[in-house]
Amino acid sequence: DTAVSQTPKYLVTQMGNDKSIKCEQNLGHDTMYWYKQDSKKFLKIMFSYNNKELIINETVPNRFSPKSPDKAHLNLHINSLELGDSAVYFCASSQSSSTDTQYFGPGTRLTVL
């Protein structure tokens, strides 16, 4: 059984389009995260949600909007995609929002042409 799953695994799209990435965790965790990993493999936090509420919003363009319909899901919607948005996006979850181990999804490779 997959603990943290993301769809799609690959996403290729044109500049200016709007796209969404979905994330689901079946671990019963309270907190979910979105990370961006660039071409140099640097992993950086974007957002964190605890029980459907936003708790961390790092310096991310407002074209990125997370949505958490329930605590098992955290989706990422991106408007007006730009070339620099090309990266691998990882979803993760942890039991609570501080100091707990985070478990990562398989990643979504986004390519903006």
């Binding site: 493999k41 640097f42 936090i45 929002s97 501080s98 181990t101 990562f104 398989p106």
Partner: protein, 113 residues
């Protein structure tokens, strides 16, 4: 600014060698340090360290935290080709009541047969 620095950035060894990967950090109100292994897909959890001087061990891998030196090491003995991966170090600082993982840039380990 909180930061995590890993060294070396890359390392090439032969099967059977022992390697030591380094992680140093400067963060506000340190809570814990985590090591992850990233092969082709998602980072997978290895260790979480919160107390100084207590070694955590899993098979051929071990890790220890030195809070006085603000650092941690990850040791891999009798390396195998399957150990080839990027090893990520991450630290939880605490800002208010919440924290988010700050990742280093990783050490790319290549184990040659």
């Amino acid at each position: 600014e909180d930061k995590v620095v890993q060294s070396p950035l890359s390392l090439v060894v032969h099967e059977g060698d022992t390697v030591t990967l380094n992680c140093s950090y400067e963060v506000t109100n340190f809570r814990s340090l985590l090591w992850y292994k990233q092969e082709k897909k998602a980072p997978t959890f290895l260790f979480m360290l919160t107390s100084s001087g207590i070694e955590k061990k899993s098979g051929r891998l071990s890790s220890i935290l030195d809070k006085k030196e603000l650092s941690s090491i990850l040791n891999i003995t009798a390396t195998q080709t399957g150990d080839s991966a990027i090893y990520l170090c991450a630290v939880y600082p605490m800002r208010g009541s919440q924290g988010n993982l700050i990742f280093g840039k990783g050490t790319k380990l290549s184990v040659k047969p």
